[in-house]
Structure formats: C-alpha cells, structure tokens
Symmetry: C2
Subunit: 590 residues, 2 copies
Amino acid sequence: MAALRAELARRGLSGLVVPRADRHQDEYLPACEERLAWLTGFTGSAGAAIVLSDRAVLFVDGRYTIQARQQADASLFLIEHLIENPPDRWIETNLASGDQLAYDPWLHTVEGAERIRKACAAAGATLIATERNLIDEIWTDRPSPPLGAVTLHALRFAGEPAEHKRERIASELAILRADALVISDPHAVAWTFNIRGADVAHTPLPLSFAIVPRQDRPSIYIDGRKLSNEVRSHLETLAEVRPEGAFEKALTALGRQKLRVRIDQATAADALASLIRSASGTLLPGPDPTALMKSVKNEVEIAGARAAHIRDGAALVRFLAWFDDRAAAGGLSEIEAVEALESFRREGGLLKDISFPTIAGAGPDGAIVHYRVTLGTNRPISAGELFLIDSGGQYEDGTTDVTRTIAVGEPSAEMRERFTLVLKGHIAIARSVFPDGTTGAQLDSFARRSLWEAGLDFDHGTGHGVGSYLSVHEGPARISKLGATALKRGMILSNEPGYYKTGAYGIRIENLVLVVEARGVAGAEKPLNAFDTLTLAPIDRRLVVTEMLSGEETGWLDHYHARVLATLSPVLDTATTAWLTAATRPLGLR
Amino acid sequence: MAALRAELARRGLSGLVVPRADRHQDEYLPACEERLAWLTGFTGSAGAAIVLSDRAVLFVDGRYTIQARQQADASLFLIEHLIENPPDRWIETNLASGDQLAYDPWLHTVEGAERIRKACAAAGATLIATERNLIDEIWTDRPSPPLGAVTLHALRFAGEPAEHKRERIASELAILRADALVISDPHAVAWTFNIRGADVAHTPLPLSFAIVPRQDRPSIYIDGRKLSNEVRSHLETLAEVRPEGAFEKALTALGRQKLRVRIDQATAADALASLIRSASGTLLPGPDPTALMKSVKNEVEIAGARAAHIRDGAALVRFLAWFDDRAAAGGLSEIEAVEALESFRREGGLLKDISFPTIAGAGPDGAIVHYRVTLGTNRPISAGELFLIDSGGQYEDGTTDVTRTIAVGEPSAEMRERFTLVLKGHIAIARSVFPDGTTGAQLDSFARRSLWEAGLDFDHGTGHGVGSYLSVHEGPARISKLGATALKRGMILSNEPGYYKTGAYGIRIENLVLVVEARGVAGAEKPLNAFDTLTLAPIDRRLVVTEMLSGEETGWLDHYHARVLATLSPVLDTATTAWLTAATRPLGLR
C-alpha cells in the first residue's frame, strides 16, 4: 500500500481502481492477474478496491463479507457492499473535485469504464487511463503469465470443423452488417478454432485474442510458447498465428481501414475499444455471435455429453455408496469426502480436471452457497446432518456439474419437508414443456412455486449454461429471472433449485439438462421443447416425503431412478449395483 | 397529401414523421390529436406515417394490417410492419443523404426522437424539429381541443389528501436528488391533485401538465375553461393554476435556475426536455415516481374497488342470465349483446363511462384479440359457438375490467378442453403465493404452463395494472414477461390468460386481482403476498372438463363461485339469483 501510494504520488494521481479482472474478464484468473488478492489479501471470486492517498476501500458482495473481514487488513481497508454501494456510487460521493483517478483500461469493459467515468465526472474528478498497470509496476515478485500447452480439440469431440464455424461466423457478421469480429473471450477463441488450453484452473482455456474478418483470413494472438509445432502448423491452416503483442496494432489497423467492428460488450476491454475508435473504426458493441453458437451443442457434442455423464455418474454413484458406508461409521470429514469423490472420478483415467472447486458442506456449512472447505473450516460429518456436495468433471467429451444432498443418520421432519419442496421445484423444471422462443426467465419460477407456497425461496438462479469441455458456467442462456436468451435445442443447462437454512443445513438438487424437441403432443400449434436430464445419480429417497408429491412427480422420480439404474449398472461392480438398486427403488417400496 | 407535400416543399423539407400521439403519449386521443387518422384514414390505436415527396408509408402492427389496408389509400401509402420494420429502420434505408426530415418534438418522447435522429444520421439525413405542427397548418377543419369539465375526486374515493401526496412526492425527489418533477402524464396530474377530467374517451383524464418542485409550491398547466369556480379555488389551495401556454416558459425557468429535473422517460416530450436542457437545467430521465405510488391503492381505494366490483358484478350477472336466455332463442347479434351489457351497467345510475370499448366476439370474431364490433362486422351469435365478451366500467370508486367466454348451445370437446387449459392458467395465477419483491414477469408463465404442455399459448401478457377511477391500463406493474416491477400489496392487476384459434373461436377468462398479504403460512421465512380476486361473476361451468382439474383447482373454482353467489345474491332479483345459483353450483353437481 505504501509503495502504491508512493507510485500514485509520483505520478500526481489521487487514486487507483483495482478490479478483480484480467484482460478477458475471465472467471478464473491466472496467478499473475490476482492483483486484488495481492494488494488486499482478499481471495474471493468477485470484488474491487479503490485506493486513495488517505483511504482505501474493498468492495465485496454478500457472499464474501465475512471472508473479506478475515483476509483484508481492517486498518487499511474499509469494506463496502459491491452491489448495494458499488464503486461508481462510492466514487460519486467520496472523490473530491479535481481528483485524478487512475484505471487500467485493459481490466474494465467499455460499459464498466463508462460507469466509473460518469461517477468521476459527477464528483468533478477525472478518470485517467494508465499506459501500464500500476500494481504491476510495484509487484516485484509477480508470477509470470501461464504458458499452458494448447491442444487441438479433435473433431470427434468438437463435431464441427473450424472452417465451417468460420463460415457461420461470416454469415452472422453479414447479418450484423459488421466487417470483422474481435474475439476477446478465450472461450470463444477455443470454440472457434477447436483448441483448448491450460492457462487457468478448471477450464481448459487458451488465454488469447482473435480477429475474424468477414472476408479475410482470421488471426489469433497468443504466446507462441504455448504452441507445439503440430498445434501451430494446424492452427496456421485456419488463421494467422501472431504474438499477443501484435494485437494492439491489429486493432489499430482495423480502425484505420474504417471497418465496422463487432466487439463483445461483456468481455471487450475499454482499451480495445479505444484503439479501434481512435483509429476511426466504427464499434458495434453487442453479444459475441459465437457465444450463442457455442451454447447450442451439435450431435457429436451431445453424444459426448451423454457419454461423459455415464462415466461421471458411475464415479458419483461409487462415491455415494462409499459415503453411505463411511458416514455411518462416523468421523468422516468434508475434506476426506472431497478427496474420495475426486479419486473416484480420476480412476477412469479420462478426467482432465474437476470443473470447479468442489463444494462439500456438512450441516451449517451446506447453507453457505459458495462454500469451499479449507483446513480451517473442515468439519466432521455427523449423524442427523445433511451433507451437500456440488462437483463436476472436465472430460474431453463433456463437462459435468452435479449436486446431491445426502441424509446422514436420521433427518428431521423439517429437513425432509424442505428437501421435498426443492425436489418439486427440480421436477417442475425437468418436466416443463415450452414453445420455441421461451427464455430461461420464463421458466425460473417453476422451480420456486412450491417453496414460495411454504414461504421459502433460494437466493440464486435455477440454472446456468454449461460448455462442452469448456466453462462450467457458460452463457448466454440461463434459467434465472435475468435469463433473457431463448432456450434452443442443443443447449445444456443446470437445473439446481435449493434451500438454505443459515447455521443449520443446505439443500440443493442439481442435474444437467439438455433442451430437446418435445414430441408427441397431439394438436400442438407451436414447435415445443422440453428438457432431457443428462445427469445420472440417485436423489436421496430418505429425504423425500412421498405424500407431498403428485402422481406425476412420483412418476418422474421413479422413472428417472429406473433410468439411472439401467444405464449405470452395466458399468458398476456388483456391490455398487446392489447399493444403487436399493437407492433407486420406487418410492412406493419401503 | 398534396397540401402536405406543398407545405413541405415550401419549407424545403424532404418529409415528415406523423406518429399517432399527443403531447402526453396518451392511449386515447382527443379528436384534435388524431392527425394520423386524418392524414391516412387509419384509425387503429397504434401507428405512424412518414411522408416523403415521392412516397409515403404507414406503419401498423400485426393486429392492424388488414384494417390498414381497408382504411388507407393504397395508391398513396405503402403499409409496413411497425415492429418488424419500424420507422427508424425504414428511415435508415430509405432516406437519402442530405434529406431533411421534419418532426413535431411535442409528439415524440426523448428516446423516440433520439431513435429517429440516429436513423437519420445513419442515412446522412437530418432530423428537423418544427416550431408548429405541419399537419395542423393544413388541417383546416381540425376540431378544437376538448374542454371536459374538471371535477374534484373526493377524499372518500381518493383516500389520501393531495397535500399528503405532495409530501410523499417531495420525499421521493429527495431520494432521487431531484429539485423538481415535471408531470407530463395527465393520469399522474389527476392522481397527484385528486382531480378527474373528461377530455378523452373512457378515462377521466384532465389533459394538463404539472410541475412539483421539491420545496416550492406546485403548478398546474391547464385550460382554465375546464375549471368551475369551485374547482379552481380548491386547486388554488394546492398549486398555482396557470394556462397551458405558460408551461414552456415554466420549463425554461426550471432550466435557468440550473435545477435537477426529473422527467418521465415514458411520456415526456422531446420538446419538453429540450426546453429544460437548453436553459442549462439537468435532466434526470426515469420513471415518474407518482406512477408507482398511484399503482398501490390505499385502504379507501381498495374498499371502493370492492364496492365497484359488487355493483359491476351484479350488472354482469344480470347480463349473463339475459344472454343465456336470448342466445338460446337465436338471432342475437354482437352489437345487441354489447348494448344490453352497457344498459345493465347504466341501470344502477353510478356508471360514469365504460372503461374501454367493449370487445364482443362470437365464433371467429372472438379470436381477434382487439376485436371491436362495427355495423360491418356485426355477427349473429349461433349455437355451437363461443362468445367472448371483455368489458368494464368506470365508477367513481373504482375501475373494472372483466372477460367471460360463454358457450352458446353445445360446445365441442376441443373448446371445452382448451377452455379448461386457460382456466388452469387463470387459477394458477389466482392461487399463486410469492415473496415480496417478486415481479409480474416471474408469475406470467404460471398462466401458460398448462397451455404449453398441450402445445398452445396466447400472444399477449397475462395481466395489466388497473387504475382507481383512472386508466384501465395502468403501469408500472404488469403480469407479463416484460413486467419488471415488483408486485406490492394494494396493486390491482388483471388476470387474463386466453387462447385464440384463428377463424374459429377465442377464449379469455379475466378477473381483476388485488395483491394482498398471504397470511397463515407456518414457518414462512419471508413476507409473502397473494392475490385476492375482486371480480365477481360466474365462469361458464359448461366449458369446464372437471377431470382435467386437480383437487386444488376444483376447490378454487367452487370456492370462488360460492363467494360470487353469497356476495351478489343479496343485490339481485329472485330470477337472476336462481340463474346464478345454478351457474355457480359446485363442479361435482350436475
């Protein structure tokens, strides 16, 4: 902090905004981009800081208030609520007239920078873009950027040649009346060129940029050290392969040609937009068209997802059988459970990585939605508790994400009632039928209706999109009141309603679902869609109050369980199959 | 057209935009504001025209394509789709570089004008604001502005003194950090000062503007001829009463004082904003804060609504009983039905007006969502048809809006099935329970779920807000995928799912509902709300397939019918009570 303040003083600046962000607005940051954590100590997945000469403030959301107090030095940082009193509002009321606030234009989107700029203007202050990042100037032991090897994502997994994707992008650009697309999101680069990388945790991203002109050859901007000769020569058949340092010049060149350039409003950095605009290009901010294309899985990706879910389901069932046995014996801890599940997943030899840090919460830990067990919080799983485990795998043929809530010992009547309400919401989504054009926002409340009737709810969306050996949180579709994208056949989303009782227990039931055509509806006047559940693992019968379910709901669960058993028993050992047979028997059977 | 083109040529202008709008963006226009109808012949409720020297185009939405072709001269006007190819897009592709397009800045909102200005710029053309409206310049027999008498809306109907409302507005302005509010919506003027008017059809609006400063005295801008001495002297206790002509100067004065002025983005004219801005005021565009206050009815307004619904329900039941008898005899026409219903409503002596033109569609006419019967379309109501009647009344204590679909003779199995699906949606909304903060968008799909499962849907929102002796379509809350406003206790909305089979029949079941606290939910963790149905009239049992209803749904309908009977029979004659007793008997009874 002292070094930063000295640097600010030396440059005649009043302060600096430090977001938790890299140049791609990635969810998982490489170590060299963890500037906020380095400066403040706070390691949560969302936040920002503002450092002035006499004060500094750390912004975190409701999930992280406690963690921020523990990690950040209270003598240095005030803690503010990221949503209720966001940086722009804070700037408006706390900056003085004439103040000069610095920011790194590569770490803020165009809209994000505009919000801060307006707030500065309202306070009579000025927002100043710095040429180099000021934290990097003083961060002497800053890690090097990651150099994860890029791999080719084979056609038997991708299902569509990169050349064909490139044609589809060109058609989209014609519709958008754009001359070129700047791809600032590495997920989109990965999808467009059928490559994967290893630069960040849990998502096989190759940190990189690309430019796809409507007519000319595309170009990729990536550190050449990540490319083997084989990968490079394959990539060169698709695009010009250039060093990352050439990206800024390429943006200026787009501008100089006075092109109409589509940039992705969600991930394109303010600096990127400035380079094009100041060279006289026209910006067309909007969704990156590859995002929607990527979210609609093709037949090969869908077959891959099904295969991955059988493999992942088998690992999960072996874990669940093991867990029942070990938890009953007592003394099992959250960390042991996480490690066991991961080793079951690894045993097949096809797991590339887990798809996100496993959430494994016993009792009250289960009520913390984004709980991540550490040595400090590790808890024994005791009888009478619920255990919530949310986990997933990255396989080359698909990405998985599944949550189960398990009774340890005898659950209370309240636990069973509330589990059943969550289950009714889960089934309402799983069974829903909806016309073409329906958005996730229009389905979200189906997951809540039964909870609402009991005066309960859950404070997160019902579902998010999932990538194909890519991000486990993939846009643009989601099932949430903010889900404005129409659900299309081939999209994979999670279905994960929950209920959380602070200090007591958490419940979440999550399966991945595929949007498919709903067939056989006599007299239907519109193309209809429905969900096909991909995830294969039993839902804990011991937590279901059968009398609270309608005939259709009971039928859904029994049918789902029969399918889990039929699909997985061929790939399980006899003992696990015996456990699964009991765990999936119809609700009517004791 | 010739006169207009001569006028344009004389002024060196390339063309003119003619919206269907007045200075308040009102839904119902006085005759003097029907410029689009005068110019084109088209009388629909939404549209616009653009007249160039060599071409003219009329924009209408899907509801009005046929009507526009019938009414507008095809040799003069091309017809374009208002939504799919809106005026701004048309301008972008059809105007030539250097063109000067004229518009009246009082007839476009700030955002609307901005859209057209951008489109002109994209075509290399310029948008020119005219001092006077160019249609008015050539419209020699233009009607005079309406001079409907203003009345005081008594406290026994309004429930809150205007002085108190003024204090609440001042508090809101403090929160918004605004120095003054410009009220451009006459509904808001009416609510703020507890007055009503008679300037347009069906809504008791006093066409007027107002300015409410945070600290000083408010002012109303209204034609003084509408004010009796009594009304004027009462209004003068609340505000400065000024002629409409003084409004422009007052806006300039706000600007000169460099005030921060809240203007309503939905209704404030571009001219209004320009006057404030060019005099150095700061505009704070956003929702008029009185819109939300007005939508939450107080205890007196709620009691008024209940009383109005008993009165209106009795009239409707007398009509329904009469209709059953007359329709069975044969030969009854849509117009006769409309007239009969209106006379039943008038008999009580308290009806001020119907709240909108009655929609009465027999057979295929019922499938036209905004059908308005004319001598040309009038149809006999025949056996085997459905008859849809959507109507409402304006009473001083409340505004009503109700739709019933009635079987004439023997309905088909398909009609009964689809009616029952619509009914299931209606009941799903009526029975819904939801936490504080839930928006109408979150409830809308409950009305559609059963229809979706059968491959059916309806192409309008499920419900709109309703005023208290004000507009039958009142914002900001609505039950629709666009309903972003949280539903608050005291709001009155319609619950009106439907189903329309083009060329065959239409079904809609509409009741008004009041948002109330949901009490008695054991273990509720959140403040809960529910709907209390206000409308009192039987739903046609002959169209219900009882086996398709769940126990809860049957229970809701039987309970509703029992309440209708118990509430209305004391105010009905013996014969009508006998009819109602049969019409409301439990579903289980034949």
